[in-house]
Subunit: 160 residues, 2 copies
Amino acid sequence: MLADLRRPERTFTIRQLCNEFKATPRALRFYEDKGLLTPAREGLNRVYSHKDRVRLQLILRGKRVGLSLSEIRELLDLYDENDDGAAQMARSLKKFRERATALEQQREDIDGALIELREACARLERRLAEIRPDLLPRAADYDQVLRARLDGHADAALGK
Amino acid sequence: MLADLRRPERTFTIRQLCNEFKATPRALRFYEDKGLLTPAREGLNRVYSHKDRVRLQLILRGKRVGLSLSEIRELLDLYDENDDGAAQMARSLKKFRERATALEQQREDIDGALIELREACARLERRLAEIRPDLLPRAADYDQVLRARLDGHADAALGK
DNA sequence: GTCAACGTTTACGTAAACGTCAACTTGATC
DNA sequence: GATCAAGTTGACGTTTACGTAAACGTTGAC
């Protein structure tokens, strides 16, 4: 078929990519503004190629692991200008490792905060139990809260 | 002695508190602007009381665990208007628990990102080893990076 | 007397990643 | 031909926690 999804000639509209990757048109235009994407034009309208789609995937993957858009752009630039891609892969590897150590550091910081929080909670619980046990919020009250958060705020943890 | 540090009449200058808690004058004035602190005045100069000092401690503790200034203000307001403080303690406990679950969620998100990162690293390492083993950055190269980060960016992990 | 060191206020700057109008064009449809 | 959906380009708004001058007053040391 002419419209085979896998054929490299296949092109995409902005909304198709937005639907596929759950992004907003504003976001894609923003990435273009920042030089992360350079789709072709058909009159005024943007036409995204297969390569553009790959780039978008890389952008979103980079975001998921907490890279900034400018960092992502640097990596994408290397994909382009470099022939074999080896040097670029080395750079990417370096970036990824740096990001990994940064994330590990964040985890430790969070663990520290959690320790402080649990201590504070314990103090409050003890004192409330003494004075006004009726006001003591039961942990069970948070089942709703937990359930409400089951859908993914997966990005919120990475410095947004 | 009249100047006993523990005497409630003891007052503090802005710089004394800044030194004690490693904050900047700008920060304390900012907190005042936001209604978190209301030190007395001696002419133009701010005079911090014992209670102000306690409030500042609470502010900084709240920040350490990732509360926003507006959240902190809400809690502080309750300290004031409430007589026995029981209701306020219940509210604080609730906030703290919420923050704890949010932090736990962040940890999971970070873990997810780390998994993705390690997979990407592994792929890159394998391919680089094939093609250009000489470009493969050794993990040992990051000893400096690790050392450089040993001083506390403990706040950076909490959404700044 | 004058310089440094501290204090004050007002107010603009910053960084990230878009959201949110507003105003307009284009193509398709009834 | 009027309308409608979807696209476009600016350009300003949002959020957070201060940093950073600018311009000025007060006090103590020398």
